[in-house]
Structure formats: structure tokens, C-alpha cells
């Protein structure tokens, strides 16, 4: 069946339900007539056997980490351990209600507390809230805290947020949602932060600067401490976008670099599965001076009293609302299920999170070296080698390539290469981001790929660069559908099924 609305079963073909406690007619007569639904929703009319097959078919037309190598830069597509999925399906997670009293949620709160402490420690921050449910929401939340901080100390004239031109789009979007105007500063020629450009824009209207480090080019910003003091000297706050946190655990941290606030992407660093676009989780950590603005809830604890059994660790956990909290950014306790998965992931590494980051960086450098140094017989056949997105002896967890030479040599662009990689059974690297690298492919292998997988990918990447340009410009060829007409979709906007 090609579409879920084409099944021809009964209107109640799906699953049967027990009878209502009160007769249907009596229920309907208890609702004012003007409020009763006139026509039923045209939902599918299919049975479980049909639907299981439908969704199995759909799943086979979808590419995940489980299907193959997923070098999508900036997204940290690492393996998702399966025990984490079993854990969140436990009734003690799936069936708990956030508005239940504290004594019903002690186990969850103990996990929250442990995660707050761990995340604060790893980032060199003083306080953590687990409330934001995505990285972008973490950015928004932290910028809101900074905004309230400036209002409180009488510096609300600070109405500008500085972002480098290599920043993720969410940075300027999040700051703009808080009401700030955005100053975008150009990167230096080497792709790094340009301190002179920064000095030229800071002032008493600077609220904050948002920085990703390692940057979106995958390189560590050598002048980060200096940038932080420039911003601090002007009275601004430093915000750390944690998208690339996977590269540095145990080696450095945002606190040491001079940041005041940071968000964590639990769906990147801590293996919350990406699920086709979400759910994520974007806790934030802050230094002491921002802690009282954090959104509730935050878990605190005190020694338990005699009648308080809790989780049996001698503590009793409480929800706390900081003194000058900005309030809520999600109505409940954040994406608790993502926090619990990430807790299970963290427990698997413990202090070896350092080893995790080292292997992420090892794999990225190894793959970069392999791709940039093809065997001589292959090099001969390659139309044109890509350029480094930015010069660096070592990269961190990801790297960028510019496909400009290929465009110039044979008219094949980055998108063509990306689409052709799909034919080889890979997800395409991140395409055309960061925007400062022309014809950019951004590659992030993560720590969970084997050396053999990286070797194979490099070989196949080279094979693509040797192919007849026409094969590439028409790619992909072996996928479920061929190149999709995105312009037609945007012009015609067929956004739902109609009979």
C-alpha cells in the first residue's frame, strides 16, 4: 500500500476498546449540542497487521545510524546503546506524571540530581537546569537568563548579541527571539575568530557573545580566552554553544575558556537518539552569578528523615525554583526521558568520557588524513582534490572540505558528491554549512565507527572523485527515489493527503 489512507477497512479496524463506563448517548447528551463534533476525522481505516507492514515498509525506506555510516557534521551521529531504550520503557519512566507529588518521583529526581552534578563538572559551571528540551531552546533559555541578569543590574541598554559568521543558525535566531539585535562578525582568513573584528563591535550595548568551540569548522579557537576577556571587559557575557562538546570532555571545558553559560546537546554528546529530527534535550549550565535566573525545576537534596525512604541513598530530593527564575520554557520537567537515556549513557563511560572524546577526535583526524592523502595510483585518477575548509595541523571531532576545485575542474559540486555518496550506502555529510566555506562538506565520524569503516569510506570517497561527472550530477541512482524536486514541492505545497 503506498499511502496509509488507502486501506479500505472498517472505521474501527485498528484496535478494539472496552465499553465506556456510561452509555454513549448519555455522554453525548452531557455535552452542549453546539460543541459536539459533526463529522468524524478521516483517519486511516486499517488493522494492526496492515499497519505493522506499512510502518515496516516505511522504516526500510529510511536511513539511520543502524543502516550505515552517518558522517553528518555538527550532528554527532554516534551509536545509540539499546539498553537506554529499554530503560525509558520501564513503567517507572513511561508512566510517571510530572505533577505527581515529590514522593512519587524520587527515582527520577535522583537521576536528575546526578545529571546536574555531572554536567556542571564536565563544563566547569556552577549550576545546571535540565529544563530546555532542545539545543536551540537551551540557547534561548541562557540568553533569557543573561537578559534578566542585565535588567537586574540596571544594564538593560545592552541590546546586542554578537555571533561569528560561522555560527549555527539557531544562535542568531534564539537571541533574536529574546529581542536582541544581532551583530555578525566575519571570521579571519584562517576561519578562526577575528579579535580585531570583535574589538570593533563590543561596547556598552553588548549583552553577550555566542561562540561554538571547537568551531563549526571543527577547529579549536586558539584565542578563545582573549575573546572572553574582550567581551567581559566590555561588560558582556560569554555563551558557549555546546554542539561540539563531544570533542573536549576531560581535556578542557567552557568554564576554563571563560564562558558564563553553556548548553549541552544530550542528543549529540550523550547519545539521545535523534529520532528523525527529535526529541532532543538541551540543558544549560551557568556560573554562579546567573544561577538564580535559571528556569525551574532544579533538583536539590537534603538528608532524608526517618519516614523518607526514597531511593535508599540517604537523601530526599526536592524540586526547586531559583529566586529570580525566568519561569518556564517548557511546561513540565523538560525531556526527562532524554535525560534518563543520557544518564544511562554517562554511567557507561563515567570518568572515561575523556576517552570517548579522544576517540571522536582520533577518528576525525584519521579520516581527514585518509581522505586528503589518497594512494598515488588513485590520486592520478581523481579529477580534483578537495581543499581543507580551514588550515589546521589537527582538527577536533569534525572537519570541513571545500569541493570548489571539483566544480572548477569538471563542474561537479558539493551537492553532487553528497548525493553520490548515498548510492554507496552512506548518509551524506552536512552540506553547505558553515557558509563561510564554499562548496562545503562537513564530516563528523564520531567515536563509534571502526577503523575499517573509516578506511572504506575514504576509499569510496576517492572512488566518487574519480567517476564520470555525469554519474555524479545525476546522482543518486540506487536509492528509493532519485533526486527529489524540492522547488516543485515549495511551489505547490501539497502538505496533506486528500481523497
Amino acid at each position: 500500500m503506498s499511502n496509509i489512507f488507502e486501506f479500505k477497512g472498517n472505521e474501527d479496524a485498528g484496535y478494539s476498546q472496552p465499553s465506556p463506563m456510561v452509555d454513549s448517548q448519555q455522554v453525548k447528551s452531557a455535552i452542549p449540542k453546539t460543541l459536539l463534533r459533526e463529522k468524524r476525522a478521516k483517519w486511516p481505516t486499517a488493522s494492526e497487521p496492515e499497519l505493522v507492514r506499512h510502518y515496516t515498509w516505511l522504516s526500510r525506506r529510511n536511513f539511520g545510524i543502524d543502516t550505515g555510516f552517518y558522517p553528518l557534521g555538527s550532528c554527532t551521529m554516534k551509536h545509540n546503546p539499546r539498553i537506554n531504550e529499554r530503560i525509558v520503557q520501564l513503567s517507572g519512566m513511561n508512566d510517571i506524571h510530572p505533577l505527581a507529588p515529590e514522593n512519587h518521583l524520587q527515582g527520577l529526581m535522583a537521576i536528575f540530581y546526578e545529571m546536574q552534578e555531572m554536567l556542571a563538572h564536565c563544563a566547569g559551571m556552577d549550576s545546571v537546569t535540565l529544563q530546555p528540551v532542545a539545543g536551540a531552546q537551551g540557547e534561548f533559555t541562557a540568553i533569557r537568563c543573561i537578559q534578566e541578569y542585565h535588567r537586574m543590574i540596571g544594564e538593560e541598554q545592552r541590546d546586542k548579541v554578537i555571533v561569528p559568521d560561522s555560527a549555527h543558525g539557531t544562535n542568531p535566531a534564539s537571541a533574536a527571539m529574546c529581542g536582541y539585535s544581532i551583530i555578525e562578525i566575519p571570521s579571519g582568513e584562517d576561519g578562526r575568530l577575528d579579535l580585531d573584528a570583535l574589538r570593533a563591535v563590543v561596547g556598552d550595548d553588548t549583552a553577550a557573545m555566542m561562540v561554538t568551540n571547537p568551531s563549526t569548522l571543527g577547529v579549536f579557537e586558539p584565542d578563545i580566552a582573549e575573546a572572553a576577556s574582550i567581551v567581559h571587559d566590555a561588560g558582556g557575557q560569554m555563551y558557549y554553544d555546546g554542539a561540539n562538546f563531544n570533542a573536549i570532555l576531560g581535556r578542557t571545558n567552557p568554564g576554563l575558556m571563560g564562558f558564563d553559560a553553556v548548553h549541552y546537546n544530550l542528543h549529540k554528546t550523550f547519545s539521545q537518539p535523534h529520532g528523525g529530527g527529535g526529541p532532543g534535550s538541551g540543558p544549560i549550565g551557568v556560573k554562579e552569578h546567573l544561577a538564580k535566573f535559571l528556569p525551574s525545576p532544579i533538583v536539590s537534596r537534603q538528608p532524608s528523615e526517618e519516614n523518607e525512604i526514597g531511593v535508599g541513598d540517604g537523601w530526599w530530593y526536592h524540586w526547586e525554583t531559583p529566586e529570580n527564575s525566568i519561569g518556564k520554557v517548557q511546561q513540565w520537567h523538560g525531556n526527562a526521558g532524554a535525560v534518563v537515556r543520557s544518564w544511562a549513557f554517562y554511567r557507561r563511560y563515567g570518568r572515561e568520557l575523556t576517552t570517548m572524546s579522544e576517540h571522536a577526535v582520533l577518528n576525525a583526524n584519521y579520516l581527514r588524513h585518509k581522505i586528503m592523502n589518497p594512494p598515488p595510483d588513485i590520486l592520478e585518477k581523481i579529477h580534483a582534490m578537495p581543499l581543507d575548509g580551514c588550515p589546521a595541523d589537527v582538527v577536533k571531532h569534525e572537519f570541513t572540505l571545500s569541493m570548489t576545485p571539483l566544480v572548477e575542474a569538471v563542474g561537479v559540486n558539493g551537492k553532487d558528491v553528497a548525493k553520490r555518496l548515498l548510492d554507496y550506502g552512506y548518509m551524506a555529510p552536512t552540506l553547505y554549512f558553515p557558509m563561510i566555506v564554499p562548496e562545503c562538506l562537513m564530516i563528523e565520524p564520531t567515536e563509534t565507527e571502526s577503523k575499517e569503516e573509516l578506511d572504506r569510506f575514504a576509499d569510496n570517497f576517492h572512488a566518487v572523485l574519480c567517476e564520470d561527472p555525469e554519474i555524479l550530477t545525476n546522482a543518486p541512482h540506487n536509492t528509493d527515489v532519485k533526486r527529489v524536486d524540492e522547488v516543485w514541492a515549495a511551489r505547490n505545497l501539497i502538505l496533506r493527503h486528500t481523497d
Partner: protein, 457 residues
């Protein structure tokens, strides 16, 4: 020892191939002044079986709502989720995929989300749906900012949005955080003693950017005034309705009474209350809001052979392209949970949805009728009709009732002060679901009866 790293023990070989000799070489670019000098002060790694054991012990200390008679709702409801749903949704191809930026290898999730958009569209009676927001509160907040972007230019009351005073504190707080940056002014619409919107007061809202109300409202009341709002506020003021999504099996789809945007908690379709996340918010609107709406949208198209194909569309609204001029900062959303929702909705079908809604309402009718017979207990809004929840007036504090019944293994509901700190401490919101049984009702009634006797003697 960590067991998730395929290249453990092969570091030297890989480093040597690059001409490097140690892991430290890979981090030589980090300036000394910002390097961490001490190892992470964290416990050693655990094995899978140790983690499983600890997870069971910790999460086992929680009290799930389905382990006892529980009447806790207030926006999240523990309806039965068919076994097919988590089993199919956690297939690795769905679970471990990213946002479908490469449509050629993502047709499965794209089609599933296009079908989801259709089901949401049918549910609420509006033509356009996105593929989910974080939850109902952020959906409501971004519906308001969307409406202001579309209508502010024509509005007589610039930047002003009217919002029902019966939006619970936590949801209102989210709306405030999302709207303050754009300079949006929120004005409250009052209600009468029956918990119905004050339609006389609502007349002031004509000429503003938008009106946000909920149906049923936070007291569970199905308000007859809601369907006539649009005739009061007029064409150029958006009507945004926050819904209990399950209620739409029984109650009219807001699109059919001219609502412009509909939002709500999708959670009862697809997943348990799960401590409030991950869940998903629905967001649907009329066509004139498409280019200003937040979130991802899937459109139908074709490939270069002319075969049917789906793709993300209207991305030019989004942050990765428009940056600070984007309609929203949303990037990660709740797709996997929306997928669970789609599967649950598909299994229910048109008749199943209606039956589910009736079962919810039926349980509430039975519970309400029995509770109001108890001496000392009365309905807070006796002249109003309800969907699956309602408020009762108690002879003493709701908090003391909850503590009394908790010790007897019953969760009677949510003290109204949890939702509205300024309201009467002697009121409690009682919520029913399809999982409410006759014996749950009997136990609740007996429990509240015993407590009432004790506190009034």
C-alpha cells in the same frame, strides 16, 4: 572498561599512520591556559548489567500513575498506548535517523510525517500542520508570535494579544518567555463563576492581533462560548485554540468554527505522561499563516523519474537558512514521538477516536456523579459541562486530601493551587482517562468520603 569504542587498543596504529605518537598530539591545539589539568572527577564506567540494575532500582522507586487509582491529569493523560506503537517506532531506521535533509534516503520518515500532518489536519479541521512542536505550551507560545507576525500590520491594537485567564501558570510562563522579546503585550480575558469565558469582556479583543483560549479549559469545562468567539473578534484577529486532543473525538474541531490556529498536547496519542517529556505539541493553521509558521513541514513532490517523493519544504522560514530573521529558532523537534502519535492515531481510526473520547468523558461523568453525592463535597462548576476532568470543592485543603489518600494508595488529582497559585486551596482537579476503572472510582469515592468525614467531624 568501556565497551562502546571499536578502536580501543588500536590508537597507536591509527596515530602512527598520521605521523603522531600520542593522544596528546591531537589536543596540542588547545592553548595551555585553558587546558584541564586534572582528570574528570567521576566514577568508573559501569557495565550494561550494572546500569540496568541501577535503572530498575531508581526508576522502580517512582510511583507510576497506572500502578494505582490515579486521577492526576491536567494536560497529560495516561491513555493506553497499543504495543505496536513503541515496537514499530523504535525500529533502528526511525530511531537513529536525523532530520530528513536527504529525501532520497529518508522517504520513510518523510511519508510518515506527511501522513501525521494529514491526521492532525483532520483532527483539528485545519488545512496545514507541521511535524510537531516541543509541547502544548511552546506550540501555544509560537502560535501567538506567528499570529502577531501575520496580523500586526493591520491590527488596530498593535502588539496586543488577549489570553484566557484560565491558562495554567506554567503554560502562561512559557508564553511570557516566548513573547516578551517581540514586545508582545498579553492581556487576560476574565471568566464568570461557571468557568465560562466572559464574552462581554472579550469584545475588547476585536482589533487585537490574536485571542488565545483553551477548549476544554483548565477546569475541564467545555465552554459553549468558544465557537462564537470568531464572530465577536472578527476576521483580522486570529483565534488560537488550545485543545485537549483526545476531546476532538467527541467535540467539534476548532477549524470548523473558524479557528485560525489550533495547538495542543499530542501526548495522549503515542506515549505515556513520561514525566512531561519527550512528548509533542501539535500546531495546525489556516493557509494564510503558512509562511510565518514555525517548525518543519513535509510536502509532496516527485523525483527526476517522475515518481512520487516527499521532501521537507518551506525551509526558507527556518533558522538554518534565515538565521536571525527566521520565524522560530526551533531545530530539533519531537519527530519520533509524533511518529508514535501517528501510529496510535492510525490504529484508532475514525470510530476508535470517537470511542476513546467517549470513554474518557464517560469515566468523568461517573466519577463526578458519585463524588457530588458525598457530604461536604460539591462541584466547583455545577452548571457547566466537562470533558474528562472537573474541579471539586473540598471541606479542607486539597493538599491534606492528597496526603491522606496517598497513604492509602490513591492519587486523587491535582490541587488547583498547583495550576493556579492564587486560587482556592480547597479545590482539586480530578481527571479521568480510558484507563479509569469502575473500581478506581469506587475507591476514590470511598477514600474522599472517609477523609471528608474525618476533617468535618
Amino acid at each position: 572498561m568501556v565497551d562502546q569504542l571499536p578502536n580501543l587498543g588500536r590508537e597507536a596504529e591509527m596515530l602512527a599512520s598520521m605521523g603522531l605518537s600520542s593522544m596528546d598530539d591531537l589536543f596540542s591545539d588547545i592553548p595551555e591556559e585553558v587546558r584541564r589539568t586534572t582528570p574528570l572527577d567521576l566514577p568508573p564506567p559501569q557495565t550494561e548489567e550494572e546500569i540496568w540494575r541501577d535503572a530498575n532500582r531508581l526508576l522502580g522507586a517512582n510511583i507510576p500513575v497506572n500502578s494505582r487509582p490515579s486521577f492526576i491529569g491536567g494536560g497529560l493523560y495516561a491513555n493506553h498506548v497499543p504495543a505496536m506503537v513503541p515496537m514499530m517506532a523504535t525500529r533502528g531506521e526511525f530511531l537513529t535517523s536525523y532530520t530528513p535533509y536527504q529525501p532520497e534516503v529518508s522517504q520513510g520518515m518523510l511519508q510518515a510525517m506527511w501522513e501525521f500532518q494529514t491526521m492532525v489536519s483532520e483532527l483539528v479541521g485545519l488545512p496545514v500542520s507541521n511535524v510537531s512542536m516541543y509541547d502544548a505550551s511552546t506550540a501555544a507560545a509560537e502560535a501567538i508570535t506567528t499570529a502577531v507576525r501575520v496580523l500586526n500590520r493591520k491590527a488596530k491594537q498593535k502588539d496586543i494579544v488577549y489570553i484566557s485567564e484560565l491558562v495554567p501558570e506554567h503554560r502562561f510562563s512559557v508564553i511570557q518567555n516566548y513573547t516578551q522579546g517581540g514586545g508582545i503585550i498579553l492581556k487576560k480575558i476574565p471568566h464568570d463563576n461557571d468557568g465560562h469565558l466572559d464574552l462581554e469582556a472579550l469584545k475588547q479583543a476585536a482589533g487585537s492581533c490574536a485571542v488565545y483560549v483553551e477548549q476544554p479549559n483548565a477546569f475541564g469545562i467545555a465552554d459553549e462560548g468558544i465557537p462564537i468567539i470568531k464572530s465577536i473578534i472578527g476576521e483580522n484577529t486570529a483565534l488560537i485554540v488550545g485543545v485537549n486532543t483526545v476531546s476532538l473525538g467527541l467535540m467539534e474541531a476548532p477549524g470548523n468554527y473558524d479557528a485560525d490556529i489550533v495547538v495542543g498536547e499530542g501526548q495522549p496519542f503515542g506515549i505515556g505522561p513520561t514525566a512531561g517529556g519527550p512528548i509533542y505539541g501539535i500546531f495546525a493553521c489556516k493557509e494564510n499563516f503558512i509562511r510565518q509558521m514555525p517548525g518543519r513541514i513535509v510536502g509532496l513532490s516527485h523525483d527526476s523519474d517522475g515518481e512520487r517523493a516527499f521532501t521537507l519544504t518551506l525551509s526558507t522560514r527556518e533558522q538554518h537558512i534565515r538565521r536571525h530573521k527566521a520565524t522560530s529558532n526551533i531545530c530539533s523537534n519531537e519527530t519520533l514521538i509524533a511518529l508514535m502519535g501517528a501510529m496510535h492515531m492510525a490504529l484508532l481510526g475514525p470510530a476508535g477516536l470517537e470511542k476513546l473520547a467517549i470513554r474518557n468523558a464517560a469515566a468523568a461523568i461517573r466519577t463526578k456523579n458519585e463524588l457530588k453525592e458525598i457530604e461536604g463535597i460539591s462541584l466547583a462548576h455545577p452548571n457547566s459541562s466537562h470533558f474528562n476532568e472537573f474541579v471539586i470543592q473540598l471541606p479542607s485543603s486539597a493538599k491534606s486530601l492528597c496526603e491522606y489518600l496517598d497513604q492509602r494508595g490513591i492519587s486523587p488529582g491535582i490541587p488547583i493551587q498547583v495550576l493556579f497559585p492564587d486560587l482556592d486551596s480547597n479545590q482539586i482537579l480530578i481527571s479521568c482517562t480510558d484507563q479509569t476503572t469502575e473500581s478506581d472510582v469506587t475507591l476514590l469515592v470511598a477514600g474522599i468520603g472517609a477523609w471528608a468525614k474525618e476533617v468535618t467531624k
